[in-house]
């Protein structure tokens, strides 16, 4: 048994070395002209001119209005430029292979872990991460899972030597999983798989209330000892860090938001939102942004509108809610590369195409608090962008030729493209 683990370890390590070398800052300034620029704020510029210099975007205009002088001018007519896509609420870099426990660092033991930090376990050299970039996903929030308070997330760019280099924003928020009002029988013990009312719902809520209250009580007195979980929570609240409230059921959503509002939390983001449709008021009245989870999911009920999951985003956007999406759930890490397509499918159900782009660019940046730096093609922002042969929300045309993170041109190769090339060559020779 031990041997197998060693073997797996060795294999993983040996494959790590195949990771792409992170790019270095492009010294020359570049002006891309002729492309359709998707700004990220739901607008586009045809025949655009986008200039980058020293890691920053220095020009966002049309060809005939360019002000600056650039070392290189590259004609990308007919192509599309996008700000790097931003994946919120991912667990990238925290698990390499779902079924290999040794590669799993996503869920720490314990219910209340505000002190836990995802960033230090973030494996910048994960093979899964390099498979994000060829699809345009350049930025991600790395989030721990499990428990009631899973811990703190951080925001990273996806081309780095190590986690320290990857960080864009340390410990951007705390993730609170609101208790479930329902439970499911453990079918493997012969219980019915039906959902039932969770008798412990109230008890679980009071656990959370107690924890927050105890932490608060602790913060007003100068204690000689430092309780790490309480301290972490208090610090986060003091610094107005975002509380990411993970909740799907209607009651969960309302109970969670009311609780956080009552204790004076300013920055709340709702993650999940499955049952949001009937509780829109609680979101709009409190101006709470939403990370819609798993947009391709099946409807909850057999008789629910078949297309309901696809329609939810446009309903929220029409109500003025700030929306982005995630792919939390089964195979979430590898599936994160499909983020643009998840956004695109909303476009078939009422979301304007550029709004769909906005969801995974500027909206995501705003929700994660990095919009001063990322999320749109605007002068002064980081040069984090990519060039696609066509519409990047459509599989057929999401073919990316060049990508930059903070002005560094990054490799679009991966373990997967290497194998592709190696075996294509093998078979073409024969």
């Amino acid at each position: 048994m031990k041997k197998i683990f060693h073997l797996i370890f060795l294999l993983i390590v040996s494959q790590l070395t195949s990771q792409q070398t992170p790019g270095s800052l492009t010294e020359e300034s570049i002006l891309f002209i002729g492309a359709t620029a998707h700004i990220g704020n739901a607008t586009i510029i045809e025949n655009s001119a986008i200039g980058i210099r020293n890691g920053e975007i220095t020009e966002v205009s049309t060809e005939n209005l360019v002000e600056g002088i650039y070392d290189q001018t590259i004609d990308v007519s007919g192509k599309h430029i996008y700000p790097g896509f931003i994946a919120a609420n991912t667990s990238l870099g925290l698990v390499e292979i779902d079924a290999v426990r040794a590669s799993n660092d996503v869920d720490e033991i314990g219910d209340m872990l505000p002190h836990i930090r995802s960033i230090i376990a973030y494996n910048a050299e994960s093979k899964i991460i390099e498979s994000m970039r060829p699809n345009g996903i350049l930025i991600a929030q790395v989030t721990p899972r499990g428990g009631f308070i899973s811990g703190k997330s951080s925001i990273v760019q996806l081309d780095a030597w190590n986690w320290e280099d990857a960080v864009i924003r340390y410990d951007d928020g705390i993730h609170l999983n609101w208790p479930n009002p329902y439970t499911r029988g453990r079918w493997w013990l012969g219980e019915s798989p039906d959902l039932k009312v969770n008798k412990k719902y109230a008890e679980n809520i009071s656990k959370i209330e107690d924890f927050f209250e105890n932490a608060r009580a602790r913060s007003v007195v100068n204690s000689k000892t430092k309780n790490l979980p309480y301290y972490s929570l208090n610090e986060a609240i003091k610094k107005n860090k975002t509380i990411f409230l993970h909740a799907n059921d209607e009651k969960q959503i309302v109970d969670g938001i009311v609780f956080l509002k009552n204790i004076g939390i300013k920055n709340i983001v709702l993650v999940g939102g499955r049952g949001l449709e009937s509780q829109l008021n609680v979101i709009t009245n409190n101006n709470i942004p939403v990370i819609l989870s798993h947009p391709h999911r099946l409807p909850s009920r057999e008789d629910e509108d078949l297309k309901q999951p696809f329609k939810l985003a446009s309903k929220l956007i029409n109500e003025g809610v700030l929306v982005t999406i995630d792919v939390q759930g089964s195979m979430e890490r590898m599936n994160t590369r499909n983020l643009p397509f998840y956004a695109g499918s909303f476009s078939a159900y009422g979301v304007e195409r550029e709004e769909a782009v906005e969801m995974i660019t500027l909206n995501a940046a705003k929700i994660l608090g990095i919009d001063n730096q990322m999320g749109s093609l605007e002068k002064g922002k980081d040069a984090t962008l990519f060039i696609s042969e066509g519409d990047a929300l459509d599989m057929r045309t999401n073919i990316i030729s060049r990508a930059f993170i903070q002005g560094r041109e990054i490799s679009l190769e991966s373990h997967q493209t290497k194998l592709w090339k190696r075996y294509s060559k093998k078979h073409s020779k024969e």
């Binding site: 390499e96 899964i128 039906d194 959902l195 909850s300 008789d303 459509d394 592709w420 075996y423 078979h427």
Partner: protein, 996 residues
């Protein structure tokens, strides 16, 4: 020997020479020899005739004469039953009366047990055909009282344990005689179920399809054993052969399981009598076709508590519909001319039996059929129609005495006679004194209300409408009351001889200690009656919602029929050499593509304007697990004997969801628990149709194999099953194929014998599993094999080549790109995921370019789902072949249409568009692989099964039905009915790794 003695006892008992040779403590040994004569009674003898002022003459437990003007012997005791009614008492076919529930033995967790514990019996412990319930039976007086109270006189009891549960015992519920007389038969019927016995932890079978295969094999084995060809003794098979003529009762449960039991029954010639669950009305057409007798419970569901709107939202429409429609089940079965008996089984509270029976009658079940279903039909099922369930000469004197028509809510059962002995349920001589009265005590008038006087009496004693505490006793013709008056701080005691309804003379001691004599003045009160009537009316008014096909959300009112349709001006993806044709018309007639051309002008057809739209062939999913009730038979490492065709669930909502994504045909594969899995089913997604109509006609037969981590059970923490390595997997295949080859040879040799020798030679044992493997070796069945890494892919091709056959399809095949050249040479196709990876160790090298590389190497490539979610958007998955590896749009589209059709061997009929092919077509709002396109219409065989523009109508309909049902439930709750705590049904979504 023991059994023979018992027969002797029974025999002797039955000819009523009695137990005269048995010693007794009571002194007098002489048998009672009197007759009992019931006179002036209304007899419901055979369920269809009712005759008044009749007599029944009973002698020694049996009816010796029945009718008007029969001579009554002088030594008869007369029971005058003027104004009473008599019905044959009921027969319960499905109970474990008098038998203890066997104890569940502790399982072995995730480490499976493969061998049987019992020796000298069948190879599977869950076959308990040798078990006789009689052996463990003891008469249960309490339960007998309960059963008699609701009208039952005879019960057929068996131990509910095992797939073959052995034989039942038939018992008359007579408290006054001993078992020698009570037991009408010690071996009345054989009982079956799909559930394993709790007394063995043998793993196999772990699924319903495994149970089905096991029962088939059991009877094949019995036939073989009959030839005395077996080397070992098998008491289970001997019992099967001994009991072959007994009625066979199958506890199936859910409507689909009823169909499954019926299917095995007709295949094996076993004529199962099938016990259902109460939802048979949802599949009437198919159940009718079974031609089997059913046993139906009356366990109508309670309404849901819908007072919390948020929780109510989570209740499925189908759950609410079931509440609304279930009471109509018996009546709908009757209308469909399906023969059925009724049972008390599955009722949470047996006291509700009569109430529910009457409810069923209110919902349209005829009284005649209701009675038959409890008497003559179960009697016929037990082949006892001359002895029980009837009132005629020679039959047991088993009947109930009632106050009126049994189906009237107010009717009481007074007595239940079993074998000529009366068991009193409520004293028919007790006078009903229900009503309101006034009594003058001391100096005040008190109000008195009496309810339930003939059973458990309730009395309300009031002074100026303030209730007083009181205790009441009513027996032996005396009413006794003690009343406490708070004001007087004293008791009054009353006793009253009840002579008749009108004549009640109370006397006693009043609150002041004085003796009194008074008169109770009955008060008329019509108001209450009025209320009650109103309530009944409301109850009756409740609308029963219409049945749909399937009877669920998005079901059709009428099953779609093929239409003649002209698609105008579409962009047509032919998948043929014509490629993609712009602005063209296509005509569908009689379910087929009949014409393709520019500007077609056809009359009398439905015209669909396809301007700006794309028309393609329907999507085919090579690897699906929707539409099935179970997926894996993990109880053995080879399960070739099971087939998914046995467990199709045609009502799975995912079928409709798939239609909304343009899928028309799927292969439902067995899971990947075993190297040799089960046979698969190829179905057309004809939502609302029966299983038989969905099964692809004459498609090539397939079986699922699996390699790698799942079959090694690497990720399950189970270390006891062979194989644990890929090395073992290879040898397992070689072992099975070698044995299959030898098996086939044995049959060839046998079949080649000349006629005479053949008669003398026992047939080889028929082994379903080996038959299937032998089909593979002969090239008559194809393998679709779950696979990941190149080593195992290569291995299986080599094993196949060694046995001279070819693998048809590797499914998953995520490292197919590494051995695409070898696959091409072998001639195997690859049905893969577009971009899945990283979920387990063996998909470490899985790449999204896999499809493109295999395709470029000349392998037939398909993209499949293995997921109920993804199967709705396989068009988007196909588009990934363009992104990853640059496959052309036309070829990429074939990955989800023509290529899977080829792999499934159905490309002669579907998968591309040309004249003569089946019209399985999808109309898309735009480019079929664009992320922005939606399915507008999905057509199968010329009929529309999904139309996006009708979706809002359907959704509105669903909302209206929900509103209606919720209102009904609120009303019922308001009227005081019990409500059920809410439970949310969730079907588990299956994928390859689902272990059942």
């Amino acid at each position: 020997m023991k059994r023979n003695i018992f027969y002797l006892i029974i025999f002797v008992g039955q000819i009523a020479l009695g137990q005269e040779y048995f010693p007794t403590n009571t002194g007098v040994k002489t048998e009672e020899d009197t007759y009992k004569a019931i006179t002036n009674v209304t007899i419901h003898s055979n369920s269809n005739e009712i005759t008044e002022s009749n007599s029944i003459l009973i002698h020694k437990g049996k009816i010796v004469a029945i009718g008007k003007d029969i001579p009554v012997p002088k030594n008869a005791r007369i029971y005058n039953m003027q104004s009473l009614h008599i019905y044959p008492s009921f027969i319960e076919l499905h109970t474990d009366f008098g038998l203890k529930k066997p104890k569940r033995i502790q399982g072995s967790g995730r480490s499976a047990e493969y061998s049987p514990k019992r020796k000298g019996y069948y190879w599977n412990d869950h076959i308990l055909s040798d078990y006789n319930s009689f052996k463990d039976y003891t008469y249960n007086k309490d339960l007998a009282t309960k059963m008699r109270k609701i009208g039952f006189g005879v019960v057929n009891s068996h131990r509910k344990n095992g797939i073959h549960r052995g034989t039942s015992v038939l018992i008359a519920l007579n408290d006054f005689i001993n078992d020698g007389k009570r037991i009408l038969s010690d071996k009345k019927a054989e009982h079956f179920s799909f559930s394993k016995s709790v007394t063995s932890s043998q793993s196999y079978p772990s699924s319903i399809m495994g149970s089905m295969a096991l029962i088939r094999q059991l009877y094949h084995d019995a036939n073989w054993y009959k030839q005395r060809a077996s080397k070992n003794k098998d008491l289970s098979l001997e019992a099967i052969l001994d009991n072959i003529k007994l009625p066979k009762i199958f506890e199936a449960g859910d409507k689909l399981n009823v169909l499954r039991a019926g299917k095995i029954g007709s295949e094996m010639g076993l004529n199962f009598i099938i016990k259902g669950s109460g939802n048979e009305y949802q599949n009437l057409r198919q159940i009718k076709n079974l031609n089997a007798k059913l046993i139906i419970p009356l366990n109508f569901p309670d309404p849901y508590d819908v007072s919390d709107p948020l929780m109510t939202k989570k209740i499925e429409l189908s759950q609410m519909l079931y509440w609304n429609q279930a009471p109509s089940n018996p009546s709908l079965l009757e209308k469909s001319k399906i023969v059925f008996a009724l049972t008390t089984a599955d009722l949470k509270n047996q006291d509700n039996f009569l109430k529910n029976l009457r409810k069923a009658v209110k919902h349209g079940l005829s009284e005649k059929r209701a009675l038959e279903a409890l008497t003559i039909i179960p009697a016929k099922i037990l082949k006892m129609e001359n002895k029980i369930g009837v009132l005629k000469k020679g039959a047991y004197a088993n009947f109930i005495v009632t106050s009126g028509s049994l189906f009237n809510d107010k009717t009481k059962i007074y007595e239940n006679w079993v074998n000529g002995d009366a068991h009193v349920i409520s004293d028919r001589k007790k006078i009903d004194i229900d009503g309101k009265y006034q009594i003058f005590l001391g100096n005040k008038n008190y109000d008195l209300e009496i309810k339930n006087s003939t059973s458990s009496i309730q009395v309300n004693f009031k002074l100026d409408s303030i209730k007083l505490k009181s205790k009441t006793n009513y027996k032996y013709g005396w009413l006794q009351m003690t009343v406490f008056d708070e004001n007087e701080k004293n008791f009054a005691r009353i006793s009253s001889k009840i002579e008749s309804e009108k004549f009640i003379l109370p006397n006693g001691v009043d609150f002041y200690g004085n003796n009194f004599n008074s008169v109770l003045k009955p008060l008329k009160d019509d108001e209450k009656e009025g209320q009650k009537k109103n309530r009944d009316k409301k109850e009756n008014l409740r609308e029963v919602l219409k049945l749909r096909y399937p009877n669920n959300a998005y079901g059709f009112e009428k099953i779609p029929k093929p239409e003649n349709v002209l698609y105008k001006n579409v962009t047509l993806w032919t998948n043929e050499k014509e490629g993609i044709i712009q602005n063209i018309d296509l005509l569908v007639e009689d379910g087929k593509i009949s014409l393709i051309g520019k500007d077609l002008d056809v009359k009398n057809v439905k015209i669909i304007d396809g301007t700006g739209k794309h028309l393609t062939s329907g999507i085919i999913d090579e690897h699906s697990h929707i539409g099935a009730s179970s997926i894996n038979e993990g109880g053995q490492n080879s399960s070739a004997e099971v087939t998914i065709e046995d467990v199709i669930d045609p009502d799975d909502i995912n079928i409709y969801r798939n239609l909304s994504g343009g899928v028309t045909t799927i292969q439902i594969l067995h899971g990947s628990a075993n190297p040799i899995g089960g046979r698969s089913a190829i179905i057309k997604l004809k939502w609302g149709s029966s299983i038989d109509e969905m099964l692809y006609p004459n498609s090539s037969p397939f079986i699922k194999f699996a390699l790698g981590e799942n079959v090694k059970q690497s990720n399950w923490g189970s270390f006891s099953r062979f194989p644990q390595t890929r090395m073992g997997v290879e040898q397992l295949y070689i072992d099975y194929f070698q044995r299959a080859k030898e098996y086939g040879q044995r049959w060839i040799n046998y079949n080649n014998l000349d006629r005479k020798t053949k008669l003398r030679t026992p047939k080889p044992r028929y082994d379903i599993e080996m038959e299937v493997l032998w089909e593979i070796l002969q090239g008559k069945r194809y393998i679709s094999c779950h696979s990941y890494v190149q080593s195992e892919i290569n291995m299986l091709m080599k094993v196949a080549e060694k046995f001279d056959f070819r693998i048809r399809t590797f499914t998953h095949i995520l490292e197919g790109y590494k051995v695409a050249d070898k696959m091409k040479i072998h001639g195997v196709g690859g049905s893969t995921f577009s971009d899945w990876w990283a979920y387990k160790f063996e998909v470490n090298d899985a790449i999204p370019y896999n499809g493109a590389i295999m395709h470029n190497a000349g392998v037939t490539v398909a993209y499949n789902s293995d997921s109920a979610e993804m199967s709705r958007r396989l068009n988007q998955e196909a588009a990934k072949a363009i992104k990853y590896g640059g496959v052309s749009e036309e070829e990429a589209w074939k990955f989800v249409t023509l290529n899977p059709a080829k792999l499934l061997g159905i490309d002669d009929k579907v998968g591309s568009i040309k004249v003569g092919k089946i019209a399985d077509l999808v109309l898309w709002s735009g480019h079929p692989m664009s992320i922005y396109s939606q399915v507008e219409k999905t057509m199968i065989e010329g009929a529309f099964y999904y139309e996006a523009d009708l979706l809002p109508v359907k959704i509105k309909q669903i909302e209206d039905e929900r509103k209606k049902l919720i209102l009904q439930m609120l009303n019922v709750k308001n009227m005081g009915s019990n409500t059920k705590n809410f439970e949310l049904r969730r079907k588990r979504e299956f994928d390859c790794e689902t272990i059942d």
